[in-house]
Symmetry: C2
Subunit: 375 residues, 2 copies
Amino acid sequence: MFSFHVDAQDQDGRARVGRMRTLHGEVRTPVFMPVGTHGSVKSLSPEDLRSTGAEVILANAYHLYLRPGHECIRELGGLHRFMSWDGVLLTDSGGFQVFSLSGLRKIDSKGVTFRSHIDGSLHYLTPGKVIEIQESLGSDIMMCLDECIPYPADRLYTERSAQRTREWAMLSLECRRREGAALFGIAQGGMFEDLRRLSARYISELDFDGYAIGGLSVGEDKELMYHMTSVAVEEFPRHRPRYLMGVGSPEDILNCVDMGVDMFDCVLPTRNARNGMFYTSEGRLVIKNARYRADNRPVDPECDCYTCRNFSRSYLRHLFLSKELLVYRLNTLHNVYFYIRLMQKIQEAIYESNFSGFKTECLHRLSQHGGEDFV
Amino acid sequence: MFSFHVDAQDQDGRARVGRMRTLHGEVRTPVFMPVGTHGSVKSLSPEDLRSTGAEVILANAYHLYLRPGHECIRELGGLHRFMSWDGVLLTDSGGFQVFSLSGLRKIDSKGVTFRSHIDGSLHYLTPGKVIEIQESLGSDIMMCLDECIPYPADRLYTERSAQRTREWAMLSLECRRREGAALFGIAQGGMFEDLRRLSARYISELDFDGYAIGGLSVGEDKELMYHMTSVAVEEFPRHRPRYLMGVGSPEDILNCVDMGVDMFDCVLPTRNARNGMFYTSEGRLVIKNARYRADNRPVDPECDCYTCRNFSRSYLRHLFLSKELLVYRLNTLHNVYFYIRLMQKIQEAIYESNFSGFKTECLHRLSQHGGEDFV
């Protein structure tokens, strides 16, 4: 059922537009996927998400396994019905969460033991269990369990963990039962170019529906992140979607689309929204600044999202300073809309074989007020 | 411009339906007005409010005077435009807030000195200043500055403060400048029947567009609150709207409509929503209860609000336990919808001269799971 087709390739670089067919409809790539960890993109309703143009959202198998439980969600008709979202759902395996949220964790060749960050209970997850969880959720695109390592990590540890991720990837392929859902493999390899290349190559030898790059944007320099991404993408098959996990800023997305990445997810637009930072066509805008106190203009005069059509900077600043709940939704709506529109413009530019020019102009505009007072 | 017309009176009691004409459209009474203290009904957008059927919302002159400042809002085109609400706006004078939120306060015959609860700055509000603030906001229905006393309060203090509230009411009438906006007087009188009656009578002698009962629901017994309400309403003119400030539960509303009250505002539906307590046609429902873990039914099977049409108890419980921002909006939408629908049903019942029967049935249903585990 799942398929991917490259529709156009930019003439100058590796950027490309494509279409993924999934159990819940078609997705145009390059795509940005808003993050809905617990089965909700923070502050947004399914209607809100649709209004931004979002086609895929992300949920997290680890979190939903712990609460309310994947079996509970399966009994209620699956995650789509549970959260009332009829678009495409990608579920992350939870590898990253096991390694970042859980206090105790112990890895063996078969899986990982960890303590719940909610109630301290002990759990054991295997590659097969993680597939079972995602199939129970009714995910359209599932991710393999991988081992995420801390940064920095030494070469030996990185190599061993990449090897384990490879073995788990093979096990994952054997465990899938549900027809039609896609399964993506994840390449690791830390910050070592040769290990990144090897991991990407090994994963590419396995018959996944798509290929992901994990373990980046964990504290390393931008240039290193870009380099590792480029190295992995070079190894990935051309006819399958490429997904750079957890990345990134609009600038990151422009640069990585240029390397041939098709899919992105990141908490930046949603988290920054809740902190009062807007992405606009003229750069970043920090709403709490005194200069917006009596500013009747919309956040971004070029934007036609619900927030920009109805509310002024002054009102949003007032809501933000008053800690009014409405502001989190209004801000998030704008930032997600901004990201989705960016992806649509990227697609158009690639179709018109003008990605390089578009990227240059876009990076210039984004940097205009990039400084403001936002860190 | 402002007018009020009684369309029907229940045959058994004092309940009545009417229509208020305001600068921003017509309002059917009895009406419930959701509370938007800082210029936002917590978690709801103007579209959300419209979808509940709300016709009037409340904002607070005291809060908006302190932040962002009434002059700022006037310069930006008024409060309707500021918050993107084209329905009717009633602004409370802030009397209650001055006396409940401000640390220091000093009352003299001309006004009240207080410290801002935001930054500690000193302010002096007079009846005239409070009208000026509300006129700057572009309020459709303004309230006089009154003196709200603590509960319990002794007779002498209560009498003096009611007298001051009367003097301020006269000053307020002299100060209004803006054509078309309504101005309501407020009766005080604490918990003394004769003082309540006298205060209501004195205020009724002044030519206000409507008459309000202040200083109730401050900790006294229900029966006392009902009695004081009844006493005041008896003194109010029949051809003007009667507004019971800060009240109440669905039960309170049913009982006070029966006494001839036309307007209500209260934070209960919105605050309880944020605490996970729903009003339903079968009584109250506390969403965190374990029994709803895998409950696929809507919160209220008889309700057709957005929340009940799209989400299960199980999902709302999950969002609530996960502290997901979306849940505050979904819960608030339901509770406000419930209140507005209750008022519509009350209106229908009065038109059909069946208010007494409706009230009895409604109180019975509301009490069914009234206990649950909610305090």
